[in-house]
Symmetry: C2
Subunit: 269 residues, 2 copies
């Protein structure tokens, strides 16, 4: 296991409906990054602003047996990169707003967005699986999506499950998240890669402008890399994932063990 | 009940060991502020850097029958101000790092710091009471102290208990908290008054420099007022506490009800 790894965010403009073209973009940027881990935006394969559930279903990918997953696994293998991207996931009659981690060895981990934003509630089915953290050869990786950021419970759960690196594909239209993730990194002592998209969509009678500014935060909240608000670009940083196992922030204070859980009962009611 | 109220932070330099002088400062700044609510720093009556538990006990106040509480209640009554300040609290052989809310009607609410910072663990007993929110004539007020900020569970619990305004006396030596409270306000939709102290102490072989920059945040994270890093000053803002009851941040998203608590089990283990 490498002590220091290179991690990247591949910020780009997913073209609505162009699954093949968007995935080509993912392959190309993965190759360019030459990174151990690269995170792409939410719904990177499809674009964002669906009319309805049916339209989302028509662009959704089958993550169990779909051909796209095999191609992504090939790209992960060829580049030696752990690839994370958001996409609409089809499962029977359901469509989830999901993100997938594909390891160079071909292993696939799926996270289905628990907290749907705004009109997404009409488009997608709410996530139905537990938050999880997966042990990879570059460290323990946790997955979350976009609006999950506003619920501190999500990053906290991932940290409790042992995440060292949190991958956070996003389609953000405001800049609150980029500011707030500082707190998420500091309070949990984890590295966070927030990869946002750029560009605009106006398919359903509203204009959505995405704010870019993808960022990579250290386990102490340091800004290691930041993208522009409107350029297609890879940003990268070198990190030491195992540093996230050090939860001591003073000689006596441990971010996890100092919690007084006996006073937190209301959190799960 | 007034719809709009004036709230303030009284940032000052508590002189170590000078309880009477520090409380005079509290009375004076309360009078100057002419506010509905004023928050003072943590350990405002005593200063911060105790040698040990015994020294803290010698400067601790009895909040049940101590004369200081009567004087504070008089000040609250005379100025029509809800006064919040931090102080060492004596209870039998225990000493807590506490904060107290004193209403103009004389009601007293105590919070005992749950998460002790660094050497405070050698000085104080850990808080033993539930987090609570108190209904006052200016709104529902929640209390927390300094290092509690790094645990998102604290502000979340206060929000779940209905807090509209969170009073947060502090003795901060870094500036992480001031940056992170933006997330606390946004994720909970609450007003937050963080009142930090200024000045330095070097009583126990280390130099502690406090960072000031007290701030008042709106329920959407807006910076309503901010103090300097080293001046003694009142900062104030007008707020509408009932605005904090609106947890809708889009047409369909509710900060509290959208939580997926069935997936958060780990938070209380």
């Amino acid at each position: 296991m490498k002590e220091i790894i290179k991690v990247s965010c591949g910020q780009f403009f997913p073209k609505f409906g162009d699954t093949a073209g968007n995935l080509e973009q993912v392959y190309r940027m993965s190759e360019e990054a030459q990174s151990d881990l690269i995170v792409f935006p939410e719904l990177a394969s499809s674009g964002y602003d669906f009319h309805d559930h049916e339209e989302a279903q028509s662009l959704a990918l089958d993550l169990v047996d779909g051909p796209e997953v095999y191609k992504l696994a090939e790209a992960a293998k060829n580049t030696g990169t752990h690839i994370v991207l958001g996409l609409p996931e089809r499962s029977l009659d359901k469509v989830y707003n999901s993100t997938v981690l594909i390891e160079p060895g071909g292993q696939v981990t799926i996270y289905r967005k628990l907290h749907l934003f705004d009109k997404e509630k009409d488009i997608f089915d709410p996530g139905n699986a537990q938050l999880s953290v997966v042990e990879t050869e570059i460290g323990r990786i946790g997955l979350m999506l976009c609006f999950d950021w506003i619920f501190p419970e999500v990053t906290r759960m991932l940290a409790l499950l042992g995440a060292q690196i949190i991958c956070h594909p996003a389609n953000l239209v405001l800049d609150y998240c980029q500011r707030a993730m500082f707190a998420r990194a500091v309070e949990n002592g984890v590295f966070i890669l927030t990869c946002n998209r750029i560009g605009a969509e106006a398919r359903t009678g509203r204009e959505l402008s995405f704010t870019g500014c993808s960022q990579i935060l250290s386990n102490r909240g340091g800004l290691l890399a930041k993208a522009d608000s409107d350029s297609e670009e890879n940003i990268s940083a070198e990190i030491t994932p195992v540093a996230a196992d050090d939860k001591m922030i003073t000689e006596t204070n441990h971010l996890i063990n100092d919690r007084r859980t006996e006073f937190y009962g209301g959190l799960v009611k």
